[in-house]
């Protein structure tokens, strides 16, 4: 069976390591990008099954990267979970307007993340 690919886009090593720890036991292939621009490039090249996209990042923030992914034919249908530091309505609304499929707030709750990922990937 082909393992599903998840692209983590985050500039924080701590957040990346935490997400890797949580997702590694669920048998996914994890790809990593350190900013929005790099994330967009990797998403187009690798066509992951899911993108976990941080909001506050250098070069291109998560909202911009999400909008850019939706505008590209190669990535327009890939589910995107925005990982927001602030869970307030405006931040979430901006994420959905940019084309996000769902969102999760930091600090990431392992069970919540796994449940959302599994639901979206149909596992």
């Amino acid at each position: 069976m082909v393992r599903k690919k998840i692209l983590l886009v985050d500039d924080s090593e701590t957040s990346l390591l935490m997400s890797r720890m949580i997702l590694s036991k669920a048998n996914y292939d994890i790809l990593v990008a350190k900013d929005g621009a790099d994330g967009l490039e990797r998403a187009v090249a690798e066509r992951p099954d899911l993108v976990l996209l941080d909001v506050v990042m250098p070069k291109m923030n998560g909202f911009e990267a999400c909008t850019a992914m939706r505008a590209r034919r190669e990535t327009e249908t890939i589910p995107i979970i925005m990982v927001t530091t602030r869970g307030e309505g405006t931040s979430v609304e901006t994420g959905f307007k940019a084309g996000a499929t769902d969102y999760i707030t930091k600090p990431v709750n392992g069970l919540e993340l796994l449940t959302k990922v599994r639901n979206i990937l149909g596992d």
């Binding site: 090593e13 701590t14 949580i22 036991k25 069970l111």
Partner: protein, 253 residues
């Protein structure tokens, strides 16, 4: 009476008819008797069948009750497993938190990077948007690293002054009670020790809105780990960058 007597002839005819009629009736009667006997037997068989069906029904009802009870037990077991699964996943997540914090703290020997990692851990694993790390030096606390803080306001704090200064002086952590409204928005002060001497104080001011203004048990575990591990990580980094500073200070203390 002669054979040709019409009366006699009539009587004979009536007798013959009667005889035939009686014979027919007897035949009919016999048929009815057989039919009645068949019906009786059928009735008895059906009654027996009804009895057997009732018994079967009773057995099935008992079986159904047993199955319903088993189903309820399995549902309860399922609920228990789900709760245990959530608990185990929560514990896994908490352990992952601690592992990540520890791994990140010891991933570098550069003092500035260690300080940045401490801020990162507090921001992303605890969920705080105003953080300060103060260094205890020459009887004062100097802001060594921060996030979301007014750096000028907190640049220097005299030892023993306010919750931050007292934490540095006593080595005791300061935690505000859940829901309390500290005027500075302070949530916690964590002394970072090396060889029993406080050399840094990690301060958490305002938590992220989704934290509902309080630290959870997992946050306390993480802060305990930071108090111990951050001390070692900072000491190791200081030792490497300034071999005669922190460790010697620790020995002098």
């Amino acid at each position: 009476m002669s054979e040709s007597d019409p009366l006699e002839s009539y009587v004979r005819k009536v007798q013959a008819d009667t005889h035939r009629y009686v014979h027919d009736l007897l035949g009919e009667n016999e048929k009815l008797r057989v039919a009645a006997a068949t019906l009786q037997s059928e009735k008895a068989r059906l009654q027996e069948e009804i009895l057997t069906t009732h018994e079967k029904l009773d057995r099935h009802r008992i079986e159904e009750l047993k199955l319903e009870r088993r189903l309820a037990e399995i549902a309860a077991e399922n609920r228990r497993f789900s709760e245990e699964y959530v608990l185990v996943e929560q514990q896994n997540s908490n352990l992952a938190n601690l592992y990540v914090a520890s791994a990140r703290l010891h991933s570098t020997l550069d003092r500035h990077e260690v300080l940045a990692v401490i801020i990162d851990i507090i921001e992303f694993l605890v969920g705080c948007e105003q953080i300060g790390v103060f260094e205890a030096k020459d009887g004062k606390l100097r802001l060594a690293a921060s996030k979301g803080l007014d750096e000028r306001r907190y640049a220097v704090i005299p030892m023993g002054e306010g919750p931050i200064g007292r934490t540095a002086l006593t080595g005791q952590p300061y935690l505000t009670a859940a829901g309390s409204d500290d005027e500075e928005g302070l949530t916690a002060c964590i002394p970072v020790k090396f060889r029993d001497a406080v050399h840094h104080v990690i301060t958490l001011f305002r938590l992220l809105p989704q934290k509902s203004g309080r630290l959870e048990p997992v946050d306390h575990d993480l802060l305990n780990l930071l108090a111990a591990e951050a001390g070692t990580a900072l000491a190791a980094a200081s030792l490497l960058s300034q071999p005669d500073s922190l460790v010697l200070q620790g020995e002098e203390r």
